[in-house]
């Protein structure tokens, strides 16, 4: 029997937007989120301003969550995990359990939207390079977001504002040895955005960005990169770092200045690793439970990407956001809209077929 329910897995930006979209189109939506709050990684990791747009991440996410939780067609299940799934397009039976007490229930859904997102690359996997687990003043983009959001951008080792900070791009991305050959798409923009925020919050701090190539998409170029360089005097230097090691109370960053063709060794107060995206644990787990094909990196495969960017290998199951690979917020939201439309269309068609229409 066909169900008119759209199950959305994941309460981050893509999940919320998919739920809102499907609900607005008149479908009944069940939104499942493993954490005890909505808003996904931007809220959980305490992002500061959104990359591109510079609005407050928490405010934007809360507004979106508010619309979803108050929507009459949406039922939100927090602290809930997906543990099993049977059935097929139009007629899925998905088992959920409560994280707290293990109580389980089944949702009957006509279509599923997976929006389980990404996690930041763990710089410890790239050993002997960046010393994230050795030096407190080596932090990641996510750590920096939280500090900038708290408006307390200081050296963790001293609690004092830094005088020289650098970003190192492509940490965990574009690296055959790590196994992540892909570009994580957003880190160049985020680093530049954070560089601006650092210059705003700590005006005396010099900021450097060591990069292979600055991958700025569309308006990120003129909205983020150029102002960072031209207005905020962020120094961009081609060549990323090979290793970071403590020297006195500073960090010695060693790389090559590639346009100069000489090794460089410069002292920094803080180093921010521009860590890329990997599929979240939830993405990998849900893909396994739902039987979705994953690509070699663990992201959910989209067989007809380009012309059908939200379809997975299983009919009736759609994907939105970074669960399908590195995505920026704009892409995630657009995908979520498309997935909502596709999911609602799928259940209507299934119901029509079931009712012999």
């Amino acid at each position: 029997m066909a169900s008119d329910v759209v199950l959305v897995i994941g309460g981050g930006p893509a999940g919320l937007e998919a739920a809102r979209g499907a609900a607005d189109l008149g479908a009944k939506v069940v939104l499942v989120e493993e954490r005890d709050h909505l808003g996904g990684t931007p809220v959980f990791e305490r992002y500061a301003a959104l990359t591109h747009g510079f609005q407050d991440a928490e405010e934007v996410m809360n507004r979106l969550a508010q619309e979803v939780t108050t929507h009459p067609n949406v039922q939100v299940k927090l602290s809930t995990r997906v543990v099993g799934c049977t059935g097929s397009k139009g007629d899925f039976h998905v088992t959920l359990t409560k994280v707290s007490d293990g109580a389980s229930e089944t949702v009957h859904a006509g279509a599923i939207i997976v929006a389980t997102g990404f996690q930041h690359f763990d710089p410890g996997r790239e050993t002997q390079v960046y010393g994230y687990y050795e030096y407190p003043d080596v932090i990641t983009l996510a750590d920096a977001e939280a500090m900038l959001k708290a408006r307390k951008f200081v050296r963790p080792s001293t609690g004092l504002p830094p005088e020289r900070v650098c970003f190192i791009q492509c940490v965990g991305s574009r690296d055959r040895q790590i196994g992540n050959e892909y570009c994580s798409k957003v880190c160049c923009g985020i680093a530049s955005k954070q560089a601006i925020e650092i210059r705003q919050q700590v005006p005396n701090c010099k900021v450097y960005i060591f990069y292979i190539d600055m991958r700025m998409y569309g308006y990120w170029e003129n909205e983020i990169y150029w102002p960072a360089q031209e207005q905020y005097k962020v120094n961009y230097i081609k060549g990323i770092a090979t290793e970071i090691i403590q020297k006195g109370d500073k960090l010695l960053v060693r790389g090559e200045d590639t346009t100069l063709g000489r090794p460089m060794e410069v002292l920094m107060d803080m180093v921010i690793l521009s860590v890329g995206m990997e599929p979240s644990k939830g993405t990998r787990e849900v893909a396994r439970i739902l039987g979705l094909k994953q690509n070699k990196y663990g992201f959910i495969e989209v067989p007809h990407e380009g012309v059908d960017p939200v379809a997975t290998s299983v009919p009736g199951i759609f994907v939105a956001g970074a669960a399908a690979g590195p995505k920026d917020l704009d892409d995630s939201m657009s995908m979520a809209g498309a997935a909502a439309m596709k999911a609602v269309a799928a259940i209507r068609r299934a119901i029509a077929v079931a009712s012999g229409g």
Binding site: N235, M264, L267
Partner: protein, 431 residues
């Protein structure tokens, strides 16, 4: 030990005689090298330059490298607009670096720069700081002093500015001597007034104007160097003094428009003098003559059966967008076959004379492999030209030197367009 690699190290430490604990480790036995490492990125110099009025855009460079293949100096040396940014980013003091004086402000980098890093403004701004600090290459200092004292970079007597007139063969009105309203004020310029080959062009111009019946006059000893190249070389104060003086002089007389011999004057009068209260209608002589071609053509009496190539002056072409007027004139001259060099019009190669380069040949010799004008002359020879036609007074002397330096004497002649016109009109002074 053999010596491989010694030409690849920055600095060698080696004590000729060293005996330690009874061991003789003289010479290569104690040889060591210094590291070739970038230790710091000091932003001080970059901040200093970008805080100058005109210097802001240096900080915009994102190292795309589009400027490198079009920079005329980069082609013959280690200088390049992109590299300037890198040097400064490395904390190298541009104010004391030879690179400060190598840019000819030819504007080809700005033409292609996606971020509009404007060397035409950055360089004069940075040079101005150097000049204020008294840090000027000696030959340029001499030019500044000459110009300040005498109103011309050569340090010639101002009284002799109109001496060339005596051999023009036609009457020339000198306004201070016979003031009267005229249609055209011809601003002759320093090189056509004093340089032997410049004077040739000046006389040719006088004859052509005379033949055309142009109602014109010159300023004689009241004319002073326009100052544009002085400004670009960093002596803005001197430029302002010259501008004020020239404007005062212009305002003393009644005329409809100013015709200039040179592109640098054209640029100064057209684009800068208005800021100092002197807005006039300005025409480069090629622009003045081109519309008169029907009249001119009737006067051509001699065929000039030569293959001619034309060198676009940076300050007429790229800086002011005029590429056609000189070509129209050349093509109208009977017998001339105009061929283009690969680098022409918007991508024309610089003769090396702009932005103060005219007076820095001695200085830049140590930093470039080949003079820009030498390279340009070779390009002209390569396209099979017998005559290299020019219309900037800097160029005749530069290129004639280069013709000699590159061993092309007898193969290539350098002529101002006005000289060719004059010759085609049957001037008594022939080649």
């Amino acid at each position: 030990m053999p010596k491989p690699g010694l030409d690849k190290v920055d600095k060698i430490l080696e004590k000729d005689v060293a005996i330690l604990e009874g061991m003789d480790i003289s010479g290569h036995w104690n040889r060591m090298f210094e590291q070739r490492v970038v230790w710091d990125y000091s932003t001080e110099i970059l901040e200093r330059i970008t805080s100058l009025s005109g210097g802001e855009s240096l900080g915009w460079c994102y190292q795309c490298g589009k400027c490198v293949p079009v920079c005329p100096v980069d082609m013959v040396g280690d200088y390049g607009p992109r590299k300037i940014y890198r040097k400064v980013q490395l904390g190298i003091d541009l104010f004391h670096d030879p690179d400060l004086w190598l840019c000819t402000t030819c504007m080809n980098c700005l033409r292609v720069c996606p971020k509009e890093v404007n060397m035409i403004e950055i360089m004069p701004a940075a040079r101005e700081v150097a000049v204020q600090d008294g840090n000027v290459p000696p030959e340029l200092q001499k030019v500044f002093e000459n110009t300040a004292k005498y109103g011309n970079p050569m340090g010639e007597s101002p009284r002799k500015r109109a001496e060339w007139v005596k051999e023009a063969g036609v009457p020339v009105t000198i306004l201070p001597m016979t003031p009267r309203p005229v249609d055209v004020l011809w601003y002759v310029g320093s090189y056509p007034s004093y340089h032997p080959r410049g004077k040739d062009a000046a006389r040719a111009m006088a004859r052509v104007f005379y033949a055309l019946g142009v109602d014109y006059a010159i300023l004689g000893h009241e004319e002073k160097e326009d100052g544009d190249s002085i400004r670009l070389a960093g002596e803005k104060g001197l430029f302002e003094m010259l501008a004020e003086s020239n404007i005062r002089t212009f305002q003393k007389y009644s005329f409809n428009r100013i015709v200039v011999t040179g592109p640098h004057e054209y640029n100064a009068f057209k684009n800068l003098y208005p800021q100092y209260g002197g807005a006039f209608e300005i025409l480069h002589y090629t622009q003045f003559l081109a519309p008169m071609l029907p009249q001119l053509q009737k006067m051509f009496v001699k065929e000039l059966p030569y293959t001619v190539t034309f060198h676009d002056p940076c300050y007429l072409g790229r800086h002011n967008g005029e590429y056609d007027a000189p070509r129209k004139l050349l093509q109208a001259i009977p017998g001339i076959r105009l061929v283009e060099m690969p680098r022409c019009r918007e991508n024309g190669y610089c003769c090396g004379g702009g932005g103060g380069g005219m007076w820095l040949d001695g200085f830049s010799r140590d930093f470039i492999r080949e003079r820009l004008s030498d390279r340009r002359v070779k390009e002209a020879v390569e396209v099979g030209a017998e005559i290299l036609a020019v219309c900037c007074p800097y160029e005749v002397s530069r290129f004639e030197d280069s013709v000699k330096a590159t061993g092309n004497e007898g193969k290539l002649l350098v002529r101002d367009i006005i000289e060719l016109i004059d010759e085609a009109m049957g001037s008594p002074k022939t080649r």
